[in-house]
Symmetry: C2
Subunit: 280 residues, 2 copies
């Protein structure tokens, strides 16, 4: 049963695509999870009707949320992922041999269960002995941990519903406390093309700057997310990204990527003028 | 009369947006021209149902088609624009004080006539005495000119219908002949996210490399074009882009931009890994 789906980015615009087949629909305690097959994006996961993961382009979001930070920190051993239930970010983090432990705190266990079935390439990593999956409220989890992590990655949904608290200054302060003295926090921070999200980007940037030594926003092209352009913000206590010795580390790692590379590691921090003005 | 419009990017995906008002629809000899009002993008022009120009984000395409090239050439005096009937590219080119003459060869006069009515901010520049508008077939025009231009910009529609010939090697060879010995040709070359267009990008890159000394593809985020990521290719006989003295020229020009800036001038040439592989 073919049908068209529109992922609305505002009340008056959205990405439309044809689902060739509906594979799964179920509501968890937190949200409705839907899996469909598409010609353009392969298997797609929607949460409350919003496109979250696609087989075709998940690599952009997951590589770009993790590698810029994991290559900026000279020795990331203990990593915390807040959200990230599809395990795509976890997969990328575990590729770094320095990493000894990754704790992932996802609020909705059903997201991970469904991902195991429909995105096995993302969830294989769960069997890695360095990975620990906790299904709980990330905000509460953080409040109980201090000076524990080298890196925290916030892999959240949009700032409405369950993820709203993950865009607040109190949460960033909790992250700051949970990081070691040279730790780095990196969050996904929405699309700079959407008016309502521009407000979020500016506020988040202001809040992070009040807490951290360096805040470096960066961009990636994600065709299936709002307006096709996505921002991340890297908030760091000590290390600055994209220095020469870090790009050498990328080469020496021998790792292969589909979006990230040595040039992208510096290029992603270059902001078009209208984006630069959002975070001045 | 509100209605939803879908600009299809493949048979099974597209950008959907609500038109709050239809302002104009007419068919020229070449295509159907439609103007609508939208909440998200302001005034929008569609050609044969494909979104071409929006009030909200036209600046990206027009700045990025023109300024990287106009700042790479040390003294661009004679410029040819093929296509570009909305005059947005012409507007940007004429901001450069070195430019003495810009000839624009657009096949469809009706596009310019309609733009004068609905995008006056783009067509004001027509009264500049350095601008000459010719309504004719750009391919034929080029065949009659040799060694004439410092810069040629190809501001075309997609490689179907009237613009198909503008993606062929014979046309690029005509451009090469029409350029001076140190001239630069820059073309819009579609979205690297769309399978069918990946083929076009690779072929165009190969053809340009056989004709020119340097071919530098670059990218910009255009939210209303296919998949939100757009490629351009700069083919140059002598000059390489984004050298230090060129970025100084940007600063010294005192020009203000909404997308382009000194950092973008180098950053736009940095390609994500999957795009880099398309042009290897």
């Amino acid at each position: 049963m073919k049908r068209w789906i529109m992922d609305k980015h505002t009340p008056t615009r959205g990405l439309s695509f044809e689902a060739s087949e509906s594979l799964y629909t179920e509501s968890s305690q937190y949200q409705t999870i839907e899996i469909v097959k598409t010609a353009d994006f392969g298997t797609v996961m929607l949460l409350d009707g919003v496109l979250m993961v696609t087989q075709r382009d998940e690599f952009v979001y997951h590589e770009m949320l993790s590698h810029p930070t994991l290559f900026t920190h000279p020795n990331p051993q203990n990593v915390l992922i807040i959200g990230g239930g599809d395990c795509g970010t976890l997969t990328q983090v575990l590729r770094h041999p320095s990493v000894q432990k990754v704790i992932q705190v996802e609020i909705d266990e059903m997201v991970t269960r469904v991902s195991r079935q429909y995105f096995p390439q993302l969830t294989e990593c769960i069997s890695d002995p360095r990975a620990e999956l906790i299904f709980a409220d990330g905000i509460r989890y953080l409040q109980e941990n201090q000076d524990s992590f080298d890196v925290i990655l916030v892999d959240s949904t949009d700032p409405v519903g369950p993820a709203e608290g993950l865009f607040r200054k109190e949460f960033f302060a909790d992250c700051h406390r949970a990081l070691k003295a040279d730790g780095i926090l990196t969050i996904q921070s929405e699309s700079p093309w959407i008016d309502d999200l521009q407000v979020v980007i500016s506020q988040v940037n202001k809040d992070l700057k009040e807490l951290f030594t360096y805040v470096n926003p960066y961009l990636a092209s994600i065709q299936t997310y709002q307006a096709g352009l996505w921002m991340f913000q890297m908030a760091s206590k000590k290390y600055q990204p994209c220095l020469e010795d870090q790009t050498n580390a990328i080469k020496e790692s021998g790792m292969q990527f589909s979006y990230f590379n040595r040039d992208v590691f510096s290029g992603c921090f270059i902001l078009p003028e209208f984006v630069r003005k959002l975070i001045q």
